[in-house]
Amino acid sequence: MSAPTSQSNSLAHYKSGPDFFRLLCWLASAVTVLTLGWIIFKIVESAWPAIHKFGWDFLTSSAWLPNRERFGVFPFIVGTVVSSFVAILMAFPLGLAIAIFLSENFLPAPVRQVIRFVVEMLAAIPSVVYGLWGIFVVIPLSKSFADWMVSVFGGVPIFAGPAYGNSLFTASIVLAIMILPTITAISRNSLSSVPKTLREGAYALGSTRWEAILGVILPSAAPGIVAATILALGRAMGETMAVAMLIGNSSRLSWSIFSPAGTLAGLLANQFGEAQELQVNSLMYAALILIIITLFVNMIGEAVLRYTQHQTAGIR
């Protein structure tokens, strides 16, 4: 028996049997999809009594009073959205600047690689560690900053006092650091995938480096940067542990970013353990709302990202 015949024989044998790998892949993906479906079904099922009882009022009412059987999550929706947007406001300029810095040749490649690695390492730190760091490091700093802001701009409602250490502002700072790697990584990717010809064309027409970055490179990478920001927003909205430790978990609405606030994820983490009956149903309803919001945000992000990839593929 020569080697080639045995090989072709076994290949034929392999082809005639059922394709187990294919089956395995099908099974694995089916299990994933079914699990998501099952989770959502279970949440809707256990939320049903609350959905039935409160309906849309649940979204607009600001009373979360477990002992009076009245539940409304408006302050928590506001807290979720505002804390994430403030975090984006802080993280976006920083993240984009790092991305530009890393995609241009300001520094030798090995140094850039190290910086890139360090920034992406931020994503590997567990949430609870951010929370602890926030309690011991960020809170004292943000409290003294907030005290100063209140003393100077206290008349403006969003900077009104008294300034708390555990506040929307503190939570947003830590959130901003947590989502920084998302913004940097995806933005850097889309910046460095801007075709070389465009860059060279800009220089050939006599533009300086800054003109090339601002006029040519950033606009062509813009959709990717937008997608990065939206995905980061999605991550910030779903973040639980660090926020629950830092935001102050209050269900009162306040104009001031230096007041305690609450988020949907934090509400769930805090109250699930000791909840009973209608409170459990209401928490499930809140979970459903959180899922819908983050799913929606992530879908927009994915859509924009796909759109970019199509576009850049065309230029290439």
């Binding site: 978990n249 269900s251 009162r252 983490a269």
Partner: protein, 339 residues
């Protein structure tokens, strides 16, 4: 042939793994309140030294989850800071015996450098948590602290953001002393206070108070003591300002009149030296157990906890049960029978 042997070995190994511990040691499992967890776990460790054949595993999953597990019958005993309501008891067909196992007091911990032995009147306590007293130099606080230098600082109020027995007992007392508090906030394991910031767990509130000057919060005595926080002297029903301590807590608990089911709270104690906010925490048992050996081990364990076990309480920040209460608990324990 070879496969068969391997299979047989695996099987026997699995059998020995799963079955042997059951034969050699009596396993008892319990679940419930987080507040007494460190004491129950200590009992379990110490009892195992005395009685190596019995292993007690207590999981601190929270009072609510503890009652749920107990009702479903997945644990041998439950534990709850809020005992069990009549509606909850009705769901357990074997019947329920509730036994006070240890006790604690809840303190107002505050952070005001230079101000020690702060006195808080009943109006001040509820006023702070209703948001009507906003500054540390409010006349309502100043009148009971003539010698203290109270600063012109806003009072920052900390509370528990998670559901807890601590909040239940705390709001129960404030509701008992202030009808306004009872109307606006009420009593529950999680409530919405009109002011303040929420921390997760006793450790979360402790961290809040420790970090910000001007913060006040309610925590279990042990947490405030171990973290060196200043604790306010609270005014009780008779008008005296009482320092939180083992003695004043014991005074409150000794005076409690128990109903038959042993479920009672000193909502607003009347004695002159009683500390106003104190509570028992309960172990929950079925009235009947089918496994005689387990019942025997369980009774031995609880008896140990109620007698020798009380000596660990003070170390861990709990109030040892007064002798009269231990007697009542032991009598209740004796009523548990084999089915």
């Amino acid at each position: 042939m070879k496969l068969k042997t391997t299979l047989a070995t695996c099987l026997s190994l699995a059998t020995s793994l799963f079955l042997t511990p059951k034969a050699s040691a009596q396993q008892i499992s319990g679940a419930g309140a987080t507040f007494p967890a460190s004491l129950y776990q200590r009992w379990s460790v110490e009892f195992n030294k005395v009685q190596p054949a019995v292993k007690v595993n207590y999981q601190s999953v929270g009072s609510g989850a503890g009652v749920k597990n107990f009702t479903q019958g997945v644990v041998d005993f439950g534990a709850s800071d809020a005992a069990m309501s009549d509606a909850e008891i009705a769901k357990v067909k074997q019947g329920v015996v509730m036994i006070p196992a240890t006790a604690g007091i809840i303190v107002f911990a505050y952070n005001l450098p230079g101000v020690s032995d702060l006195n808080l009147s009943r109006e001040a306590m509820s006023g702070i948590y209703l948001g009507s007293i906003k500054k540390w130099n409010d006349p309502m606080i100043v009148k009971d602290n003539p010698n203290a230098k109270l600063p012109d600082l806003p009072i920052q109020v900390a509370s528990r953001s998670d559901g807890s027995g601590t909040t239940y007992v705390f709001t129960q007392h404030l509701s008992a002393i202030s009808s306004k508090f009872s109307d606006e906030v009420g009593t529950d394991k999680s409530v919405t206070f009109p002011v303040g910031v929420g921390g997760k767990g006793n450790e979360g509130v402790t961290a809040l108070v420790k970090q910000s000057i001007g913060m006040i919060g309610y925590v279990e005595y042990g947490y405030a003591r171990d973290n060196g926080l200043a604790m306010a002297h609270l005014q009780n029903k008779s008008g005296t300002f009482v320092e939180p301590s083992m003695e004043s807590g014991t005074a409150t608990l000794s005076a409690v009149q128990f109903p038959e089911n042993l479920r009672v709270w000193p909502e607003d104690p009347t004695g002159v030296n009683d500390y106003p906010i104190a509570t028992f925490t309960w172990l929950l048992f079925y009235k009947e157990y089918s496994d005689e050996a387990k019942l025997k081990a369980l009774k031995e364990f609880v008896n140990y906890g109620l007698t020798t076990g009380q000596s660990f309480a003070e170390d861990l920040g709990y109030i040892p049960l007064p002798a009269s209460v231990v007697e009542k608990s032991q009598a209740a324990l004796a009523t548990i029978i084999k089915k």
